[in-house]
């Protein structure tokens, strides 16, 4: 039996793997967004642009200084996180006392500026970035070909996501972060440096975006537009998962990636829209999102 529902098994699993890989990026990006929103009440529209920065920085490291992908895994998220800290200190800090919609508008403006500048410098056609030698090629699993690099992406994402979830929900640092954003004056009274925690939270959130960018560089097109192609789907993922729920965004991201992959196999016309249609459905049935808490 080489076909399921009229689709060759290799193609089906191939698309599922691709979908899962996409889901990994959705998960990591929506995790970052959920952290930032859940704790800072800011919708970080610039998330896609920061993800793009991570990818372009990775390319830059290789092409200018011949620094390998392994180092980029460390350096790029760090660079993006530092950039994020600057953004938070200079811009976002002034908006905490105002309507959160202004935060959305500010990050929207920042996204335009970042993308516009990168677009101006690097054009749109994409910067070449190859897969690291070790991971090139595919494993023949019999029922499908599994490209090695994509398997690594899935593994790395799951590791990072669940580590982050663990740190935030189960460790003391995470407890401080959560408390500090829920009731800043009280936590500050205990002697904890709340503004620093807030900056750290934002940095972690965008650092995740940068890491996603490094992982994406070898497979997807490194282009200044890669963020804006992705960001709205990620927003939909966050809405479906429940804004502010960390576990929710991880699971929803992965799940939606798989669903998208399946849709591509059986009814590829709908693959762009299936995430939004699910979102509309969830809004009708469970407005707070699948895992969300009403805020």
């Amino acid at each position: 039996m080489t076909e399921i529902f009229g689709v060759p098994i290799a193609a089906l699993f191939g698309q599922l793997v691709l979908g899962l890989v996409n889901g990994c990026f959705y998960a990591m990006l929506s995790l970052g967004l959920a952290i930032i929103f859940g704790m800072l009440n800011i919708i970080n529209f610039a998330h896609g642009a920061l993800y793009m920065m991570g990818a372009v920085f990775t390319w830059f490291l290789l092409s200018t200084w011949n620094i390998s992908w392994w180092w980029a895994l460390l350096l790029a998220p760090l660079a993006v996180a530092i950039f994020g800290m600057v953004v938070e200190r200079v811009f976002l800090k002034r908006l905490y006392k105002v309507d959160p919609l202004y935060g959305l508008l500010l990050t929207f403006g920042l996204a335009l500026v970042i993308e516009g500048l990168f677009r101006y410098k690097y054009g749109v056609s994409g910067l070449p970035y190859g897969i690291p030698e070790i991971f090139q090629g595919a494993l023949n699993l019999g029922f499908m070909f599994l490209p090695k690099y994509r398997a690594i992406v899935v593994g790395a994402t799951l590791l990072v996501c669940f580590t982050t979830w663990f740190v935030i929900e189960r460790t003391q640092l995470g407890a401080y972060l959560r408390a500090g954003t829920e009731n800043p004056p009280l936590v500050q009274a205990f002697g904890i440096n709340v503004p620093a925690m807030i900056t750290l939270t934002y940095a972690i959130g965008v650092g995740l975006a940068g890491l996603a960018g490094v992982l994406a560089a070898p497979t997807l097109q490194v282009s200044p537009l890669m963020g804006s192609n992705l960001i709205i789907v990620v927003f939909a993922v966050v809405v479906i998962g429940g804004m502010g729920s960390i576990l929710g965004s991880i699971l929803t991201g992965l799940g939606l990636g798989l669903i998208e992959g399946l849709t591509k196999v059986f009814y590829s016309q709908a693959s762009n829209t299936v995430v939004f249609m699910i979102m509309a459905l969830v809004l009708l049935v469970r407005p707070a999102g699948l895992f969300g808490r009403e805020r």
């Binding site: 689709v7 290799a10 191939g14 691709l18 749109v124 056609s125 994409g126 595919a138 282009s223 590829s268």
Partner: protein, 407 residues
């Protein structure tokens, strides 16, 4: 108080309107004292390497070669970026033609080109397209003010397909860019494949400038076709080829780049692109004239050799100026009449003719990308396989669906 604010606002509106007036300073009058040529193309996006700023350089080279003046009037080259958006392109064309631009050249994106040709028809000004591929420009959308220069999807698609089918590539699957150009390329090529006894097993449409070709290529892979026809161009072709090798598609199935430019091959590198067929209307290393012109071009473009689109812009601009000279006026109808009478000869074209349907017909060439060991220089990328005379390369008039052709 509110009233005074309104008066202040009125002042502000006046200021804005005045600024707008400055922004649209070319409105209203048609100036006969200058011949203005507008280069309209994608300056920053997917197709910017194929045409882009190189087109402006090419047009300026033509103007300089002509002497900078025609019939005593100075020649000016202006340019704008259509960002691959038909509305932006059409609006720019409209604004230019409402002003004093006499002719528009360039325009790689077929969707934009079709839109611009309609505006040219409406405003009775010339549009000489060297960049777009869609054969619609000389069939359903043909009009008396549009010339389709350099190449089209029929020429590149069928020339490439002919070579591949002759080698036994009979079953095809198409990966097509989802707009006018891709569909035209797929249509023209499939028509040929089927008429040559081959089969089209299926096709999939991808969005222009897609970021990830893997899922489309998976579909191509599962179709089992011998040949995967890439009915796309520029960055899309480059990414398709790269993704195909990542997924291990290439040894088993062969790729046919139905439209590929020298800049694409340069970007891909010989290792990835070797063996691909490239049907082109121009290559810098064809003869002494092309080499001389191309080296002059490369000197202005940081070492980049010209593509056939850029060569086309040079040639069409030069021939346009020659036609104005011969016609004694820059009136569009008179110049068009002259252009269709002339035999076109310059550094990049020999013996070209423009037909009644606006199609410029000239020799076409089938190249194959060299392997890394065969290449002796950064831009030494092609080896010539065959030369096709113009009347065989392009769609014969007998098959034309252009309303201007009386049958």
């Amino acid at each position: 108080m509110k009233g005074k604010v309104i008066v202040a606002l009125a002042g502000l509106v006046l200021l804005l309107v005045a600024t707008g007036a400055w922004a649209q300073a070319t409105s209203g009058k048609i100036s006969g004292g200058v011949v203005k040529i507008g280069v309209l193309d994608d300056m920053s996006g997917l197709y910017s390497d194929i045409g882009g700023k190189g087109e402006v350089v090419a047009a300026e080279m033509a103007v300089a070669e002509f002497g900078g003046k025609v019939l005593g009037a100075p020649i000016q080259v202006v340019s704008a970026d259509h960002q691959n958006k038909p509305d932006v392109g059409a609006n720019k064309a409209r604004e230019w033609f409402d002003g004093d631009v006499d002719a528009i050249v360039g325009t790689v994106n077929s969707g934009v080109a079709i839109a611009v040709s309609k505006v040219a028809n409406e405003k009775h000004r010339l549009f000489i397209d060297s960049g777009a591929g869609s054969t619609k420009l000389t069939n359903e959308e043909c009009n008396p003010y549009t010339i389709h220069y350099e190449y089209d999807t029929y020429a590149t698609g069928t020339t490439t397909a002919k070579a591949i089918v002759a080698q036994g590539g009979k079953s095809w699957f198409f990966l097509t860019a989802d707009y006018a150009f891709g569909k035209s390329l797929q249509q023209d090529t499939s028509n040929f494949v089927q008429s040559a006894g081959g089969k089209v097993l299926g096709s999939v449409l991808h969005p222009l400038s897609a970021s990830d070709f893997s899922s489309f290529l998976l579909q191509a892979q599962s179709s089992g076709a011998q040949i995967i026809g890439l009915a796309n161009a520029g960055g899309d072709t480059i990414n398709s080829v790269k993704a195909a090798s990542e997924f291990g598609i290439t040894p088993k199935q062969k790729l046919a780049a139905l439209l590929i430019f020298i800049t694409d091959v340069h970007s891909l590198g010989l290792k990835a692109a070797q063996g691909l067929y490239a049907a082109e209307g121009f290559y810098w290393d064809q003869n002494d004239d092309t080499r001389k012109w191309s080296k002059a071009f490369a000197a202005k473009m940081g070492g980049k050799m010209p593509t056939m689109v850029q060569a086309g812009v040079y040639s069409s601009t030069l021939q346009y100026l020659k036609a104005i000279q011969a016609a004694g006026t820059d009136d569009a109808d008179a110049v068009m009449k002259k252009l269709k009478e002339m035999t076109l000869n310059d550094a990049t074209v020999k013996g070209g003719k423009i037909r009644a349907d606006g199609r410029m017909v000239h020799e076409f060439y089938l190249y194959q990308v060299k392997s890394p060991s065969e290449s002796k220089g950064e831009w030494d990328l092609y080896k010539l396989i065959s030369t096709i005379p113009g009347d065989q390369a392009f769609q014969p008039l007998s098959l034309s669906r252009c309303p201007l052709i009386k049958k």
